[in-house]
Symmetry: C2
């Protein structure tokens, strides 16, 4: 394959497929979507750091969506931060979208706290704690509506980015991947470097027991796995992937949360392989506390990872430097939107221009 | 102004503004939206012919939206027709969208029967009969969300088309325009040549009385007029117009229903004048049973009408010929989408290519 990837991007996994997809979307017009969802799983103390307190994790998806569309939050004061004061990865997503001018749509997968903006409605409801074993309602309906949305977008754009903001999502992702037998142990990430692996593993095991699911018993019924132990971000995105990837390449923006979405989508429709790449960040790919490479190898060897080589180590702001110390790493499609912006601009947008824009956005948001 | 309009289009009203807008969108990329809404007003026997029975008028907006997005209806069997077997104007909208490849989004202004597809949600509720004097809930919220949607679309498209499918909408439009004092008598259209003017006038007068509104008493508060005697299609579209027209031209697709929307939008924000044109059909402009020219002159002399010169008199199908006899004339943005398709294609799309496509669609839908 003659396509040369620029230094701002890296590839892991099947490089032929990654380069084929990149070459087909290089300089073309994409559309970015972010699906927001709430799962009460995020309010289990200790599970999610995506919010200053367990209750505030429910506001994070709406606040992220508002930042992307409105440039500010309405549902809460300030911007979504981790307890240490580290800003949401939406800051990078905003930079990628502003530089590229890519259209942006928010999909409401099912929220308790709704963003104050017009979302695509897929008739989803917010999810219960997976400890109930009955986590998500209306899964098949949201999946079908997501599929129509993917088809709609693929008719007028050359590629589609799907992504997520759903606090608690790495735990639900682990549960769904265990139910599908994609992973048999906890390899998932966290927005904290002190990844609470034992707690997540216990919650997932209890959830699977509550739903009477054995590891791998739902390999062929991922929508059932989501109904039992998933979250409402998943069905909409699975539908969108399948709907769009029949016609155009799809960048699946996100880390371990989206690995579960990819696993479910290709279990339902393997014909989309070859038109799907994960789009994420260097931070996630190199995270010592999780293993996206191993997870994706288990999901399927032909779904490559394309990551953006963002590096915040030289940033003057500690809140951003923290990304280098294992905080945040991914979310709100920050990796996928960056990969998409670089591709749409045929490489004119780089990690350097993205970093400058992140600083501009960060300074404006924090009134520095 | 040196811009020459092609024979497929006609202009009424301020030709300078119309030509200025057309010249700015000629060959550019637009986006088409259709806002669906239900008002129980359409179930008052005799008020609406947009459906085979008064109850079926509630299904017409959802069915129209499904036709545009899915190419078929899901919420009901067959396609929306007037009692005489005359097909919905969505057939022309479909032709314009398919020929132009223009992106298409449905906005759910507030429906009792929801389309089976992902709509933009503006948190609207379906409307009560205007005879209650308390017709629409959540008007200000839907207006605000519509405004954000208009802003979103204007960031990535060169022009925006807004339109409607809302049975009973000419009656609610008359009521709102009377409340605003834009018209003082019944000049509105109907999907039937036997326009039930006396019934509409009586319903409107009773509605205004129920809401304690005098003619013109709400000239400065159009959203209040809608709360009392309007329908839920209106606030979303008014917001979208204002949100989008600050940046790009807006084609307001529709007839007398959209005259009320335009009147309300410019009452709230007159700065958008110059970036707004109505987009409709020759059938409506020449309708002997209504007077869009007089209505629009009352709304504002600087909102021009651009109409598509579609002519179904040579069509082999009686259902389409009926458009020449005063049936249907407008709806589902058929005029606005046709004007937009012609403009986006820089005149490559014509009435001739649209007619051929309408025949193809009509034959496929009716399995001829």
């Amino acid at each position: 394959m003659s396509f040369e990837i620029p230094p701002s991007l890296g590839i892991h996994g099947n490089a032929d497929i990654a380069k084929d997809i990149l070459s087909r979307i290089w300089g073309k017009r994409g559309v970015f979507t972010c699906t927001v969802g709430n799962t009460m799983t995020s309010t289990i103390p200790g599970i999610s750091d995506a919010g200053d307190t367990p209750e505030l994790t429910l506001f994070t998806p709406a606040a992220d969506a508002e930042m992307l569309v409105l440039g500010k939050t309405v549902c809460m004061k300030g911007i979504p931060i981790n307890p240490g004061g580290i800003p949401t990865p939406a800051t990078l997503t905003m930079a990628a979208l502003q530089l590229s001018g890519m259209p942006l749509y928010i999909v409401d997968g099912g929220t308790k706290i709704k963003p104050n903006l017009p979302c695509f409605d897929v008739e989803g409801k917010y999810g219960e704690s997976i400890l109930t074993g009955k986590a998500v309602k209306n899964v098949r309906r949201s999946f079908e509506l997501g599929k129509i949305l993917g088809e709609m977008l693929s008719k007028t754009y050359d590629f589609v980015v799907v992504s997520e903001s759903c606090a608690g999502g790495t735990t639900t992702a682990l549960a769904v991947m265990m139910a599908m037998g994609v992973v048999k142990e906890n390899l998932v990430s966290s927005s904290s470097p002190n990844n609470p692996k034992e707690l997540k593993t216990k919650v997932v095991n209890d959830a699977l027991a509550a739903a009477k699911i054995k590891i791998g018993s739902l390999a062929k019924d991922p929508l059932k796995a989501i109904e039992c132990v998933g979250d409402p971000m998943m069905p909409a995105n699975i539908g969108m992937m399948i709907g769009a990837a029949k016609r155009v390449p799809v960048i699946v923006g996100g880390g371990t949360q989206m690995a579960a979405v990819i696993a479910a989508a290709i279990a339902l429709d393997p014909s989309i392989i070859g038109n799907i790449t994960q789009g994420t960040t260097r931070w996630l790919v190199n995270d010592p506390n999780s293993d996206i490479r191993k997870i994706m190898a288990s999901v399927h060897p032909d779904i490559p990872i394309v990551y953006v080589n963002m590096d915040y180590s030289e940033s003057p702001y500690e809140g951003l430097q923290a990304y280098e110390w294992g905080y945040i790493k991914e979310g709100v499609g920050c990796g996928g939107s960056s990969v998409a912006a670089i591709a749409q601009s045929a490489g004119t947008i780089t990690c350097k221009t993205l970093l400058d824009k992140v600083h501009e956005i960060y300074e404006k948001l924090l009134d520095l």
